[in-house]
Symmetry: C2
């Protein structure tokens, strides 16, 4: 029988996906992971107040969530000193990035990012027919100057910067990011992914300025707030840009349980502070383990540490494969030259004990495999 | 400063949204509703096992949900006697309808629906640039023959049928729907919205046939399962069509809490059966209240009853406004001639006591207002 007539764009899209989940790997292994250190989740968990709020909201789950997400938007606005008109809440930053791309990018429109930066952004750009231009990292950092130059050259509708960066964990200071904002080409929107803002050091995040029409900043409850499994992200921008999301978003996409959990999490800043302290301590320990094994941990402003394995991608992939085979879920950058590294999310003491035990074996095994 | 360059399509979209939520109305009223009977939610609530599963999963909410939604897809497949390859789970039927439209509809592609049928489907079609063609209802029913004739006439890529129907509560028997499937124009996909399948009478739902490449059937946990606030819907179709969703969907869009809640709800078919019995009893009572007030309740296969107020749209709107002013959240069809009706979702005994008390006043007031 005749097949569905997919759009030409959809026919052109690959079947591959940005990330394979740990559960998929566990099913393939036939065994669970002993430590889950690959998706930059917060093993320290959400606020107990958020857990209680979710359990409470579960009883009311027969009611749709407020499609205006009013209370949560008000609370976010108050937290950041902006107005609710500057806030859109969505199904994680992933969902919001998809909406932003859809708002701006039609077939052939140009978009700029860094080669090796967040692949889900690229997935959305490709998915809406955008022409993606990539510039190299400058060392272990995304390169604002190169991004700006490329955006001007190709007349980009959208440019992406993550600060702090994933997968490298690096960051720019606020002045550098502000200089990028100030030098944005006319007509280019900056998607400033600040998923890791909560774990960044003082002075890394420029002040919020909701008067700029072309800067949109993404935040999330998935990282330091420990609510990756709830799927709540938000974006802060000029009211005009925020309003345009209402033309296309899934208005009932954010459920009652998710809104309640995020609201309670936001209200518990003590838990957030305590979690950030634990994240910093765990980062330090991952760094120590790396150094004890002769590797170089990169400075991190995130909830993970990227470890330079000191050789090429084949070597780092062998190290990663051994860690995975030993029951640790970890990931690594996809793109050279960043793929000389592995990326380890913060874990509990017990998680990092396992990592400390597994890494020497992984390095020894990788050295055997990759010496030819 | 220069504004963001939205796509031409986005610039053409209206700012209006398909549904205003009850919370928005409550904020405007400055008071909560006494009964929530307007969004076809299940006031009888989710399975206690689902509530417990959500509360349990809340503690684990620091972990992303499985992006393959493996366990839930397996359970859904088993429940329906299909394979997991025939199942895609998403952020409510709303979210899945958006994905389906995006898969098939590019600028100017034709889509057919009924005038007065589910507006969120239309929202997605317009949002992706589709050309929407509408055919009238045949009485209180969507009209499969007219839909087919129009689909053939305009070479539609997609045609929408809800069975049972929202907002009228009516349904076709399985043979009628099967005849529509069998007569689908080559190249037309049928989006068969079966959100209310669980409350439909025996013989209304045609057997699942996953060999047809161009029929996709939508189900949800939002209605009889009582989990509207969790946002989990699914679609059943040929594996090739299901696979194409993976090219565009938000892979991490369905959180761990949502997956756990839906899985537990599906496992509790006793709760579902008991809920359906309560829904049927409440439908009967709404019908009695309508008749006691001289109105005609339409036969319903859903969790709501559409009540013919016997006059024109202005009259029904006045009845609705009075009910709302009396603290009852209810809605009504948007489009003539269906807008001679109001639509009342099933409620508790207490909810329906309020409705029984409010309706006579609403009718008296509306008669005063609309007699000129």
């Amino acid at each position: 029988m005749t097949q569905p007539r997919h759009t030409a764009l959809v026919q052109s899209l690959p079947a591959s996906v940005p990330f394979v989940g740990p559960e998929t790997q566990e099913r393939a292994r036939g065994a669970g992971f002993a430590a889950r250190l690959g998706a930059n989740e917060s093993v320290f968990g959400p606020s107990p107040r958020a857990v209680a709020a979710m359990a409470d909201a579960a009883k009311d789950a027969w009611m749709y969530g407020d499609p205006e997400v009013f209370e949560l938007r008000e609370a976010i606005a108050s937290h950041h000193g902006v107005t609710a008109a500057n806030v859109v809440v969505g199904e994680g930053i992933d969902g919001l990035l998809g909406y932003l791309v859809r708002l701006l990018v039609a077939n052939g429109d140009t978009v700029v990012t860094s080669d090796g930066a967040y692949p889900t952004f690229n997935y959305h750009v490709t998915g809406f027919g955008g022409a993606l231009h990539k510039v190299p990292y400058a060392g272990d950092h995304e390169d604002p100057r190169a991004l700006l130059a490329k955006a001007a050259e190709v007349d980009a509708k959208l440019v992406y910067l993550a600060n702090p960066d994933n997968p490298m964990g690096s960051w720019h200071d606020a002045a550098t990011v502000q200089a990028m904002i100030d030098a944005l080409p006319a007509g280019t929107v900056l998607a400033l992914d600040e998923a890791y803002a909560d774990t960044a050091p003082e002075g890394a995040i420029p002040p919020l300025d909701m008067t700029h029409p072309r800067v949109i900043r993404f935040r999330t409850f998935s990282k330091a707030y420990g609510l990756a499994g709830l799927r709540v992200g938000y974006a802060l921008a000029h009211g005009d840009l925020i309003t345009s999301f209402n033309k296309i978003r899934n208005h009932f996409g954010l459920g009652r349980v998710a809104q309640a959990g995020a609201l309670a999490a936001l209200a518990d800043q003590e838990h957030l502070s305590a979690t950030v302290a634990r994240i910093i301590a765990a980062r330090d320990r991952i760094g120590s383990i790396a150094r004890q094994n002769g590797l170089v941990p990169l400075a991190s402003a995130t909830n993970f540490v990227t470890i330079d394995c000191g050789r090429d991608g084949a070597f780092a992939r062998a190290v990663l494969a051994s860690l995975v085979a030993q029951g640790l879920f970890v990931r690594m950058p996809f793109t050279p030259p960043q793929d000389r590294c592995i990326r380890v999310s913060v874990g509990t003491e017990a998680d990092l004990d396992l990592f400390a035990a597994a890494l020497p074996k992984a390095l020894a095994g990788a050295a055997d495999i990759t010496v030819s």
